[in-house]
Amino acid sequence: MSPARVEGTLLCHVGRHRLAFAASDVASIAAPDAACVSARGAFRESPSVQRVLVTATGEAVGVDGLEIDAEVLSVLPPSPLVAHASGGSLRGFVLTRGVLWPLVHLDGFERYLRGLGGDGEGA
């Protein structure tokens, strides 16, 4: 079976941490607003949002910063130990810039962050 691949990736910085989203998950990139949830909540850090990634159906997640990578990247499967992290929104990992980036589904990740309660909300 050939490994999964992702073509076009948004590489995001979240405090000291990294996250990646498939470009196909992202309909637009917006300015922060009070309604979005901060990805920092997934790392137990205080919310902070500079850019907001929005799906076609309106789910929105805020990050500190982002880079766009146009390359086709292999998706390394997650270990069973982390497969349920982030409410099951973790797809795997991409290896680029010399480090691993957790690749998550944007819509599922937004639902996971909302489920954490108020900690991750607000820009």
Partner: protein, 144 residues
């Protein structure tokens, strides 16, 4: 008694994490590595320090000291435990080597991770807890 004698003939890799000593069956201990910068997994518990890529595999790093309720060992070395369903890395502040472990090796507690730690065990003069790697893997896979 037969079970005890069987246990005493088995070899274990004995290592420290923080102030406690642990042992894993030698056949499951693949190697000891110094791991690079870890990637934190969003939504993961504190004892899961992060992951790193090793020979094409993404390996999770678990701090046994944090897992049992202590403070982090703060080590960059780890014992790779290879199992049929995957590999995990257990942080090691010191590695004593391979040796037998003596003792009744009963579960150290009725619930949680302690079900998968067995003791009291002795490796030389050291008190060690023997890790049931399959049980620990199952326990951690359930999001513990």
């Amino acid at each position: 008694m037969a079970a005890l004698e069987s246990e005493s003939r088995q070899s274990y890799l004995v290592f420290a994490c923080g102030s406690s000593w642990y042992a894993v069956p030698a056949e499951a201990a693949a190697e000891v590595v110094t791991f690079p910068e870890l990637t934190r997994v969003p939504g993961s518990p504190p004892h899961l320090l992060g992951v790193f890529a090793h020979r094409g595999e993404v390996i999770p790093v678990v701090d046994m000291s944090l897992l049992v309720g202590g403070v982090t060992a703060g080590s960059r070395r780890a014992v790779l435990v290879r199992l049929p369903r995957g590999t995990l890395a257990l942080t090691a502040s010191s590695v004593a080597g391979v040796s037998p472990v003596q003792g009744p090796l009963e579960p150290l507690g009725p619930t949680g991770v302690h079900v998968h730690l067995r003791g009291p065990g002795k490796s030389g003069s050291r008190d060690v807890a023997v890790i049931d790697p399959e049980g620990l893997f199952d326990h951690l896979s359930q999001g513990a």
